[in-house]
């Protein structure tokens, strides 16, 4: 199979195909590397990385809901230095660009992470996670206010020599306003969407199922919301968009490309099927054959 027909170019990310695992659903790739060759992926979005090591929330950290799941991991990660010295080095063995998901409680922390990771060769771009619903400070706060989002983007752009994508929260009245603000502040691309804040209760104990009470809803359940937000933003912006939210097969990928995404990320589906990413890549090419499509960009709305 000629992989070039799937290849796309995004700022900082030269992708063999438009499919990457979504941040937080693939760790740093080590576990999935035991199942298949990571070089087949378009890119890898690594787990949200903070300045120092974080332990995250108490358990249960996940719960299920119809066609979806809630998570409240709370950004557990080994911290920027360890990510640079161990995880990125490990990933460097594979021929695949890394989208480094950057998290933090303060602007300084975000910048520290970027400064720590920016020299790593395989980091193609940064993804500012201003939309994590599962931490007390930072995270989603930056993502719900256009001014704060823009300010953080601008600061990130000042220290980063690599493209900066901003990951938007769907928990807002007006996602277009946030998108416009970060575009004006210099963002090179957008990632949409992060999880919707949700809850589940155990009717036997009358308690929230998650130790953190609230968690982020992901999976097929949120797909229509993701598609709508991407479509809305696409009407006003030409920024590259990495689309995500419930993608679990190649038809979903096509829907996201039509809505306005330039590439996609697959999150929850990795848990349902650990081979989700390579399977979707193959399926996508099969569909292109069936549809007589030469290049994946033809699948886009204006393709």
């Amino acid at each position: 199979m000629n992989r070039e027909r799937l290849a796309i170019e995004l700022p900082g990310l030269s992708m063999k195909n438009p499919i990457m695992p979504a941040s937080g659903c693939f760790g740093f790739g080590r576990e999935y590397a035991k199942l298949y060759d990571l070089s087949c992926l378009g890119a890898i979005a690594i787990k949200g990385t903070t300045g120092d090591m974080r332990l995250g929330n108490l358990t249960p950290r996940v719960a299920e809901s119809p066609s979806g799941m809630l998570n409240a991991i709370g950004l557990q990660n080994p911290g920027a230095e360890a990510v640079r010295d161990e995880e990125l080095l490990f990933l460097n063995e594979y021929d695949v660009p890394v989208l480094a998901n950057v998290s933090g409680s303060t602007p300084e922390e975000y910048l520290h992470v970027i400064n720590t990771l920016k020299a790593s060769k395989n980091v193609g771009a940064f993804e500012l996670n201003i939309s994590c619903p599962n931490v007390k400070t930072g995270g989603i706060q930056f993502g719900t206010d256009p001014e704060q989002a823009a300010r953080l983007t601008q600061l990130a752009k000042e220290v980063s020599d690599k493209p900066v994508y901003v990951k938007l929260s769907p928990n807002v009245t007006d996602v277009v306003a946030i998108a416009k603000a970060v575009e004006a502040a210099g963002a090179d691309g957008l990632s949409m969407i992060n999880t919707l804040v949700g809850m589940r209760f155990d009717w036997k104990t009358k308690q929230p199922i998650l130790a953190n009470e609230r968690g982020g809803l992901s999976g097929p359940a949120i797909k229509p919301v993701a598609l709508r937000m991407i479509y809305d933003v696409r009407q006003v912006s030409d920024l590259p968009i990495i689309g995500m939210g419930g993608i679990s097969n190649a038809k979903d990928v096509m829907e996201f490309l039509i809505a306005g995404a330039n590439a996609v990320a697959v999150g929850t589906a990795n848990f349902t099927d650990p081979f989700a990413c390579p399977t979707i890549i193959n399926e996508l090419e099969t569909w292109m054959d069936k549809m007589g499509v030469d290049h994946v960009t033809e699948l886009m709305a204006n393709g």
Binding site: C25, E31, T59, R61, Q76
Partner: protein
């Protein structure tokens, strides 16, 4: 670790809300250790998470493995309706640390303690030990008479001493597995699986000399170590283990229960 479709050979209720599921398939040849588990996909699209279920037995000659599961929620409920010849999507074997059945020596006193649906991996460990001619003491605790399963299977194990206990005394001894452990001489090795409260009490009870291993449960996302869903705290509460990857079996003194 493999993701393979397996075929349902049998799926029947063996005690109150408790089912024995026998599966066949290529995967079986890779299944060996008591304490490891399978990550079973619920055969219905609206379930996005798999269900972790322990191996209760493996029969390499027949090419089958056994799972014993309790119907507790929607997912296990759905699995009860799987019929012979249906296919289940199974990921396994999972777990980086199983019960260390090869460590005990013949003369060691080995205590195996299981509570409720924590019993299946204990049964598996008991089989592995007794097949090698190593005598074991088994304490299996259930809620009540209707919940008892595998009693006969336990008694049929060679070189074993079996105590059945129920919370309400409706079958076997009355009380908890802890009550029985207290009455028995201290063990060199103790392997346990059951509710968190039972494991906590056991850990408090056993003397330092006992090599006490516990198998933990936690809600899981990936099941393979990538998502950080299934953590448990280290004893000093300053770092985390992943139950799916570092466990599910841990040395009791290493973990905060």
């Amino acid at each position: 670790m493999y993701a393979k479709p397996m075929k349902v050979v049998r799926n029947r209720e063996i005690a109150k809300d408790t089912y024995e599921l026998i599966l066949s398939g290529e995967l079986v040849q890779h299944l060996h250790e008591a304490g490891t588990f399978l990550h079973v996909r619920v055969p219905e699209e609206n379930f996005v998470l798999r269900r972790p279920l322990s191996l209760a037995a493996v029969n390499h000659e027949l090419g089958t493995c056994t799972i014993i599961y309790k119907r507790v929620g929607d997912g296990t409920e759905r699995i009860t309706s799987a019929r012979p010849n249906d296919r289940l999507d199974v990921l396994g074997p999972l777990g980086g640390s199983a019960f260390p059945v090869s460590l005990p020596k013949n003369a060691d006193r080995i205590l195996l303690v299981g509570g409720g649906v924590g019993i299946p991996p204990i049964y598996f460990a008991a089989r592995q030990l007794t097949e090698r001619g190593i005598p074991v003491s088994i304490i299996a605790g259930y809620a009540d008479k209707e919940s008892v399963f595998y009693e006969k299977a336990f008694y049929e194990l060679p070189h074993s001493d079996v105590t059945i206990v129920t919370d309400d005394g409706s079958h076997g001894e009355k009380g908890t597995v802890i009550d029985i452990v207290k009455k028995q001489p201290a063990a060199d090795w103790l392997f346990a699986c059951g509710p968190r409260g039972m494991l906590r009490a056991l850990k408090a009870e056993v003397p330092d000399e006992t090599n006490c291993y516990v198998s933990l449960e936690e809600h899981m996302g990936c099941g393979i170590g990538a998502c950080y869903a299934c953590i448990c705290e280290s004893s000093d509460r300053r770092s985390y283990y992943k139950v799916c990857q570092d466990g599910p079996v841990f040395l009791a003194k290493e973990v905060y229960l």
